[in-house]
């Protein structure tokens, strides 16, 4: 420090003798007198010392002024040194006497008055000097900091560094002005009146602020403001994140220590004050701040603070409003205070805070809408999110945004071929429930449900699933929830357990005493009807025309009644009543008749059993196989007419059963006045008890299965160890091969039968289970047939698609022939399309089935095919 002091002192001494710097003016030397001009007639002469010109004429004044200017500028000029040596910069020492005289002369004395600018020109010169110095020394050190494409993460240090450097430079520039120049202006007219003094004061402040403005302009023009405001906006955002504990890029938020928050806050305040000091807190900074706050609000909404409350199921909007009021607004106020100190800070009144709160709620709502589908699917744990949305949809724009966005999500995520009908139905129910909570007036529901309903209507299995789900049991006798198969919508079935909603909504519009009345929502469509039942089942049932449902209901109810084991049919009766309520009584007569028939059958059954003295249904044909047969209750014809085509595989039941059947039939004819009883053998169930040598097997099986195993027992005494080939069984039972094999596979799977040798088609009864070493073989046999054994389930009372296809083959062939005869050869897909259009009921298969059919016809020489194009053989 001493060396620098010394060197600067030396420089001063040196420069007093030899003017070194070119940039302060060198005045006319005192030694050279100003001779003025010779007057007319006067000869050019020597120095006339007595001439009054020297002291009084303006020329002398100019000289004095020049001298003062020279001294002052020399004093005020700044040393040009690179910024890296900033520590060597030092503040101006207090001016010596002649310097302060010169300054005083220029600023407040005659010099100022003479120049007529009252110190203006010296300050202008100083500003120029500063500009030159700044550009030469300070800017090169700041410029490299602000390269385009800077990394946001360095914003803090960058800004702080910039502020630091600019602050140092500024201090350097301001110091002589503050310490020496302004006091001179202040003190100068000490002899003037107080009024004038006031004017002088204001002039001094004016000068100072003008100087500040000039200085700020120099700095602002030298710095890439866009980059700075970008960095600033990042810094403010980062500070906000720290203070409010938001972690935009971290998966796991950790609780910040209180010191961290304080530290961040202090650092921000410090930085902002510094920015204001160096004049970077202008409009740009405020804009950056606005951006930061905007981003902060957005970040807060997606932060963990605003997570959906899955457990408490409460809305978070209240928390959000509170945050805006108690966290966000104070932070904004503080920052604004820092940025605009000196001027009046913008007051953030309750109105602004209210607006911010609304804005935040809107934003939260939009964020929630983006995930609405997930919330709906997870109803009702997502109640919190839905309630958040409720605060959002207060404007028509928000409502329409919600509806549009949700419809999009639906079409993208639900209404495609990959979603099962059951799933769509379940989601539809969730949608109904969630939107009822969201918008009790059901206008929004109406809008978003339309595409779902349209889609459901287009699906062929919707009606079937709905009706089947309505009939399904989801709770066992103890009230535990069962998990039914994929074709049953659990939600619909659960909904059935609820009591029937009241069908008699009274008209709220006419209820003058209704204090909860509100006008129709503004976005309600023209078809909006107020008194809508929000009952889920009724909305499902209104999906289709009644006839479609009734047809489906007949088929399913029929199947259900046949397979039902519950004695009272209470559920079915309840369901039928429900349907009657919704679909109209007259349409459901067929179902009614069915139900009554079944009930009557039970009665008749009981009475026949009563009349036949000993129970004829327990028969014991032989020691080995004993089948107890409980026949399905006989049904008079109407039922059969109403039902879908029933499987009528015929076969010969075991003799004992036949005998029992005929006894029963006789009993029936007695009771029912000569009506005939028609047995549907395939539809019965039989409980079979097999007493084998080492074990007893008891099974509840289909009748044809019982018949097959019975056939093994019947001829036991024939000595061939109960062996049967498939062909023998077919002949003995008059049963289709398919059924025989099906039943055989079933019994093999149960470990009762086995094939004597692979591929022999001859089966025998396993009287003893094989020993351990054979167990593996049996197990493998069992597994190999497991696939087949699983098939009995596929043989249902209602005909399968395959059966329908086979049955209609003749018809299809006629159509194909007609088509190809008249329209020439065409490819299989087109044939399929035409068939679907022309054949009543459509074609019961896909293009593969059709190709099989066409191939068959080609083999018979009716058609000829080339590639996939088929034509009539000529």
């Amino acid at each position: 420090m001493t060396t620098t002091m010394a060197s600067s002192h030396e420089a001063l001494v040196f420069s007093s003798v030899f003017p070194v710097s070119a940039h302060h003016t060198t005045p006319t030397p005192l030694a050279t007198p100003d001779l003025g001009f010779t007057t007319e007639g006067q000869s050019f002469g020597g120095v006339d010392i007595t001439s009054p010109l020297l002291s009084s004429r303006p020329v002398a004044q100019e000289i004095k002024q020049n001298q003062a200017w020279s001294v002052a500028t020399r004093y005020l000029s700044l040393a040009r040194a690179p910024f890296s040596q900033i520590s060597q910069w030092n503040l101006k020492q207090a001016p010596t006497r002649d310097i302060s005289d010169a300054l005083r002369y220029l600023l407040a004395g005659e010099g100022a008055q003479a120049a007529g600018d009252e110190g203006q020109s010296l300050l202008d010169w100083y500003v120029n000097e500063i500009r030159g110095h700044y550009l030469a020394c300070v800017q090169p050190s700041i410029q490299p900091l602000w390269k385009p494409g800077l990394d946001c993460r360095h914003s803090w240090s960058l800004l702080e560094e910039t502020v630091n450097r600019l602050g140092q430079a500024q201090a350097l520039y301001l110091q002589p002005l503050r310490d020496y120049v302004l006091p001179i202006i202040h003190d100068a007219p000490s002899n003037t009146s107080t009024a004038q003094q006031g004017a002088v004061h204001s002039k001094a402040t004016q000068l100072a602020s003008k100087f500040r403005r000039d200085l700020d302009a120099v700095i602002t023009h030298s710095i890439p403001l866009q980059l700075v405001s970008k960095a600033l906006s990042y810094v403010l955002f980062d500070a906000g994140c720290r203070i409010f504990d938001i972690h935009p890029n971290q998966a796991e938020p950790k609780k910040p220590a209180r010191e961290d928050v304080l530290h961040a806050r202090n650092r921000t305040v410090r930085l902002l004050r510094g920015l204001r000091e160096v004049g970077l807190a202008g409009d740009q900074a405020q804009r950056a701040f606005a951006q930061a706050m905007d981003k902060l609000l957005g970040q807060f909404i997606v932060s963990h603070h605003m997570k959906v409350d899955w457990y408490g199921r409460a809305p978070v909007t209240k928390k959000l409003r509170q945050w805006v009021k108690e966290g966000f607004a104070p932070f904004a106020t503080e920052v604004m205070e820092c940025l605009s100190a000196g001027e009046t800070p913008l007051p953030f009144g309750p109105l602004e805070i209210q607006q911010w709160q609304d804005m935040a709620t809107q934003r939260l709502g939009r964020a929630r809408v983006d995930n609405l589908f997930d919330y709906v699917v997870n109803w009702d744990r997502s109640l919190g999110a839905i309630l958040d949305l409720k605060d959002y949809i207060t404007t028509p724009a928000a409502r329409s945004h919600l509806a549009i966005s949700f419809s999009k999500q639906l079409s993208r995520r639900l209404l495609h071929a990959g979603a099962t009908t059951t799933h769509i139905l379940n989601v539809y129910i969730y949608v109904i429930r969630a939107f009822n909570e969201l918008d009790p007036k059901a206008v929004l529901l109406d809008r978003v449900a339309k595409p779902i309903r349209r889609h459901l209507r287009d699906r062929p299995d919707t009606a079937r699933i709905i009706v089947a789900s309505l009939l399904a049991d989801v709770q066992d006798s103890h009230g535990n929830t069962l998990h039914p198969s994929g074709d049953i919508s659990l939600e619909i079935a659960t909904e059935m357990l609820h009591p029937v909603a009241s069908q008699h909504d009274h008209d709220h519009d006419l209820d003058w005493g209704n204090m909860a009345w509100t006008p129709d929502p503004v976005d309600a469509g023209p078809e909006y009807r107020k008194s809508r039942s929000t009952d889920i089942i009724s909305s499902l049932l209104s999906l289709y025309d009644r006839e479609d449902f009734i047809t489906e209901l007949k088929a399913i109810l029929g199947a259900h009644l046949l397979s039902a084991t519950t004695p009272g049919f209470e559920k079915e009766i309840r369901l039928l009543e429900l349907f009657k309520l919704r679909l109209g009584e007259e349409k459901l007569q067929a179902c009614e008749v069915m139900l009554r028939d079944v009930l009557e059958s039970k009665r008749i059954d009981a009475s026949i059993r009563g009349t036949i003295s000993r129970n004829p249904f327990d028969v014991s044909p032989d020691t080995k196989t004993r089948s107890t047969r409980r026949t399905t209750p006989p049904r008079p014809n109407p039922l059969l007419l109403l039902l879908a085509p029933l499987r009528d595989d015929t076969f010969l039941p075991p003799a004992a059963v036949r005998a029992a059947q005929s006894r029963y039939a006789a009993g029936f004819e007695r009771v029912k006045d000569m009506r005939k009883l028609h047995w549907m053998h395939a539809l019965g169930r039989a409980s079979v008890r097999l007493e084998l040598e080492d074990r007893v097997v008891e099974e509840e099986v289909a009748t044809w299965q019982a018949a097959v195993i019975d056939a093994f027992g019947e001829d036991g005494e024939a000595g061939d160890e109960a062996r049967r080939s498939v062909a023998q069984l077919e002949a003995a039972l008059e049963m289709d091969e398919e059924l025989v094999r099906n039943a055989l596979a079933f019994w093999i799977g149960r470990g009762v039968l086995r094939e004597t040798a692979p591929d022999s088609d001859v089966f025998e009864v396993l009287e003893r289970l094989p020993a351990a070493n054979d167990a593996g073989a049996a197990a493998s046999a069992a597994t190999s047939t497991a696939g087949q054994a699983a098939r009995p389930a596929a043989v249902q009372a209602i005909k399968s698609q395959q059966d329908v296809l086979e049955e209609n083959t003749a018809l299809y062939r006629q159509f194909i022939l007609g088509m190809l005869t008249n329209q020439g050869a065409m490819p299989a897909p087109r044939i399929l399309m035409m068939l679907k259009m022309a054949v009543p009921g459509g074609f019961g298969g896909g293009v593969e089935e059709l190709r099989g059919l066409l191939g068959g016809m080609a083999e018979e020489g009716i058609l000829q095919g080339g590639g996939d194009v088929w034509g009539v053989k000529k």
Binding site: D446, G818, N822, M826
Partner: protein, 176 residues
């Protein structure tokens, strides 16, 4: 609850009237398919109101062993108005002009709703075989030369029939 009236009353793809036509044509098609008559056949094109039919020439006539394609176009008020029937295969016949238009009373003023595709086709088949004894039709033949030759020069007549006849290709059929 969100059923709206629009959904229920949305216009069906076929109006009631059109539905009747479709139903009737469906039934006719089913009958044709289930009880095929040898020598005649018909099948709808892409929609039910346009059919293509095939008749084979009756034995013992100049048209024996030839097959003829026809197009049927059913009006919206079928069966109360006759279908428009045209021969698509070129044919030489007194009552059929070179564009395939047919002069047959039951397709014009004598049409009745009890006629159907099958009966029309049978009539046309018999028209080919008949000696055109029906004087009211010979009175205004569409093909005067054919009408003359029919009686005068059966050999020349048959030659002209065969010369004119040309089976349609699959592409031509597809274009019907």
């Amino acid at each position: 609850m969100s059923t709206d009236a629009a959904e229920k009353t949305a216009p069906q793809p076929l109006s009631a009237n059109n539905g009747n036509v479709t139903k009737r044509l469906q039934t006719e098609l089913m009958t044709l398919m289930m009880s095929p008559t040898p020598g005649i056949s018909a099948f709808p094109n892409d929609d039910l109101l346009n059919w293509t039919a095939t008749i084979s020439g009756p034995g013992g006539t100049p048209y024996a062993n030839l097959t003829f394609k026809l197009s049927f176009e059913f009006p919206a008020n079928y069966p109360y108005a006759p279908p428009t029937v045209l021969f698509k295969t070129p044919i030489y016949h007194p009552n059929i002009d070179f564009s395939g238009r047919i002069c047959l009373d039951i397709l014009k003023d004598k049409w009745s709703a009890i006629y159907n595709v099958q009966s029309v086709l049978l009539s046309l088949q018999s028209l080919l075989g008949s000696r055109i004894s029906e004087l009211n039709q010979i009175a205004s033949p569409l093909n005067g030369q054919a009408a003359e030759l029919w009686d005068k020069d059966p050999a020349e007549y048959k030659r002209l029939v065969l010369a004119r006849h040309k089976d349609l290709t699959d592409e031509e059929l597809a274009g019907l």
